[in-house]
């Protein structure tokens, strides 16, 4: 009789391990792609969302965690502290993908906005207490603005996240949706999350 696999083993196996590594690398490389196109967005969760949709939430969480670990190891240590945020993104994307969020663009868009709000909730305490609200991102001036109008450090970090993240995540969800529509079915059929697309 076949051994019953845990949820973790089902999503992290020999077939999916290279996909998770690809997703982590894609997250990192997206920074370069965004610079090439000169877009005022981060889009640094596309790999996480893609793998969460194609494999599942655990794989999505691992993708985000390894992307930040690699970024922290080689580029900027600050990324390591934001691993909890990537876990939230991976878990939520995998969950909504199973509910069919990536089957139509008009379901992907609102899920992206909700994802942005969740991401802001998860990142605000880290940004506030670990970095004093400053992360050297382009949105630091928003923290400055919210501090200037009398908000506390945690409120400012949260409001900055709310102002920037939903747009970024909605764009990421839409890009992943359009990406999935353009990848041939012959490839998608070989993936565990084929039913999510």
């Amino acid at each position: 009789m076949a051994e019953k696999l845990s949820w973790f083993d089902r999503e992290v196996n020999a077939t999916t391990i290279p996909l998770i590594a690809f997703g982590a690398a894609l997250n990192i490389v997206m920074g370069q792609a965004v610079q090439m196109i000169k877009l005022p967005l981060y889009l640094d969760s596309i790999g996480t969302i893609l793998i969460a949709c194609l494999v599942g939430p655990v794989a999505g969480m691992l993708t985000g965690a390894f992307a930040n670990l690699t970024l922290g190891f080689f580029f900027n240590y600050a990324f390591i502290f934001f691993i909890p945020v990537t876990l939230v993104i991976g878990a939520f994307s995998g969950f909504v993908a199973r509910l069919g969020a990536f089957k139509r663009w008009y379901t992907a868009l609102p899920c992206g906005i909700v994802q942005g709000i969740l991401g802001a909730v998860a990142s605000a305490p880290i940004a506030a207490f670990m970095f004093g609200g400053v992360t050297m991102g382009g949105t630091d001036f928003l923290v400055l603005y919210f501090r200037a109008i009398g908000k506390s450090i945690i409120q400012s970090a949260f409001l900055q996240g709310i102002a920037a993240d939903p747009v970024d995540k909605a764009a990421s969800y839409l890009i992943v949706y359009f990406l999935l529509t353009r990848i041939p079915r012959t490839i998608l059929l070989r993936l565990p999350g084929y039913g999510n697309v």
């Binding site: 020999a14 996909l19 998770i20 490839i187």
Partner: protein
Amino acid sequence: MATSDAFITKYNPLHHYVALSIVFAAFAFKLEWQLAILVILLAATVISPRRKLIYRGFLKFVLPLIIIGFFINGLFFAGNTVFTLGLLKFKGAGLLFASRVAVRLVLIVISISDYFSKVKSETVSEYLAARGADRRFIYIFLLSVAMVHLLRDKLQKIYVAQSARGLDTTRNFVTRARYLLPLLVPLSYSYIAESLDRGIALRAANFADKNSRRTKSVTPLLKVSISKTGLILGRTILIAAIAIGASRLFS
């Protein structure tokens, strides 16, 4: 089977236990203790042969963060003004908060960068494997590091090809956003297909099966010789740091 000395690397776990203890201290210790550790750490960094690397990382990532943190928190915290710089009025509470954040950041960054500058990623991977860490995680980490360079090269080639076909980055926001797809689709398509093929190869090698004889008999490329003195000393330092932090919490 005898292993050639060329494949034996020495690993002293004292480095990572000290780094872990400092990260713990950065969160759990009193500010005065943190400052004392910082002074020792800075003195150790000055005589370290890797100081250039550490200073470069510090100047590039941490110093701007600290300066902006002092301005944002010093100017916009509620409380009494402690000094003025032209029109700018800095508040005492804000500067204190910024100082705490700055000390914490400097402690964490110097300890981590010092550790990473001493140890190669391959050695850490082999060490983790030797200590029973899940091979899947180690493989994902090493593969993702390797893939970043491959993906960057591929992306650059696709960008050049798409530019030749008329990709214009001077147009409006929506059009530029749409230009991401001609870059991402070929990149994802080729690497998803390649990852699936790599997955087949891993399955054929019974990679993720913990019970397979083949997995158990795999010999690592490097043999790691772990320093016992470093291990005991490192663990003692970490336990002492946790005890000091915990005593502060419960006092």
